[in-house]
Symmetry: C2
Subunit: 216 residues, 2 copies
């Protein structure tokens, strides 16, 4: 337990340094977290295509193995850096600082970090982001906010994804939102489908406001 | 790294003791692992109902928080014990031994352990089970075996769940199975829907054979 506290304290110090550095550069930084397969990469792909010209983004991709996601992001024309964590279950602040060296930060205004697909461990590791954005697919069931409260408490935004599948599922949207607000009262919720595009405009508006604010 | 190795070595010793103990009791023991929301509990509920009378099961439920899953299992009439891991991201052998004390093992032949929903960390922690069974929902995308290879390599069986949703998804079943076999050549694959019941009979046959073999 002492060991764990020490690791987290060290990460927190590095995350604070990242935060100051990103702030200096006027960057809006988001840390996207979720279960595997909830659609983080698909949301990023669609966001980057739809907001092309409206911002200057870069992406850091975290995965245990493969550069599949980085290849998908690169196809949008946006600069991307893959981090493979091997046996590791989360990104940490040190990895993110190093990965950000791949970019010309003076010519960016948005840094999107896609964490390893894991609804547990990334909750404890601050990367120096402005906000954690938790993605929950409606295929995963309503009760995930209560079962993984650390993550939903750590997140300021929830993207409730794959709403195009709602007609084929037994999923209670209102109940899910109520549970999310029970663990995280101020959480901002967007209902979206990265496949159909439904609901994405409200998310883009939130992103755009954040980018403007971070420029200072 | 030395610390991590020590934790794993200690867990491996305890898992080996569990294994001998469960073997002595003639129990068939499975460790169900997956992302959050892939349908582990729904598969267990349906399996327990459909196999009622054909075996004498008990269930250990692992979750960070809530006893939602234990309540669902209890409704089937099967003995169940909930473990809440709090900040923890996986079950370990010690937790499982303690939880198993809640059951009369001499009158059981099947112990089903539902791990914390996490496709990363539980891969490293042997619980003393006969087999890890990885559940992958077809809503999660084909490439998960390549992106989380430790888990799929550790599993002897893959339950490809929610196949009732295939008509509404862009999911390539053959490609997914090929990727699973690429990281785990001998993996046994069952295509199932815990909702419609499709494909469940083959899984039950496999379970039944395992129970008979474990009786020795």
């Amino acid at each position: 337990m002492l060991i764990e506290t020490d690791i987290l304290a060290k990460n927190n110090r590095m995350a604070q340094a990242n935060r100051s550095y990103f702030q200096e550069k006027g960057l809006f930084v988001l840390n996207l977290v979720s279960s595997p397969g909830s659609g983080k990469t698909s949301i990023l792909e669609r966001t980057l295509k739809d907001m092309a010209g409206a911002c200057r983004p870069a992406v850091i991709e975290g995965d245990q193995q493969t550069d599949n996601d980085a290849v998908r992001i690169a196809a949008t024309g946006v600069p991307v850096k893959q981090i493979n964590t091997g046996a590791g279950c989360h990104l940490d602040a040190h990895m993110v600082l190093h990965a950000s060296e791949a970019f010309d930060l003076d010519n960016l205004d948005l840094l999107l970090i896609e964490n390893v697909g894991n609804l547990v461990c990334p909750a404890s590791f601050d990367l120096g982001e402005h906000h954690k954005v938790v993605v929950l697919s409606v295929t995963e069931g309503e009760d995930k906010p209560l079962k993984y409260p650390q993550m939903f408490r750590a997140a300021d935004v929830m993207l409730l994804n794959k709403i195009d599948l709602l007609p084929y599922l037994d999923f209670d949207l209102e109940s899910c939102k109520e549970m999310a607000r029970r663990v995280s009262p101020g959480i901002e919720i967007f209902e979206v489908s990265s496949r159909s595009g439904e609901g994405m405009a409200a998310w883009y508006a939130w992103l755009g406001a954040g980018i403007e604010k971070a420029k200072g």
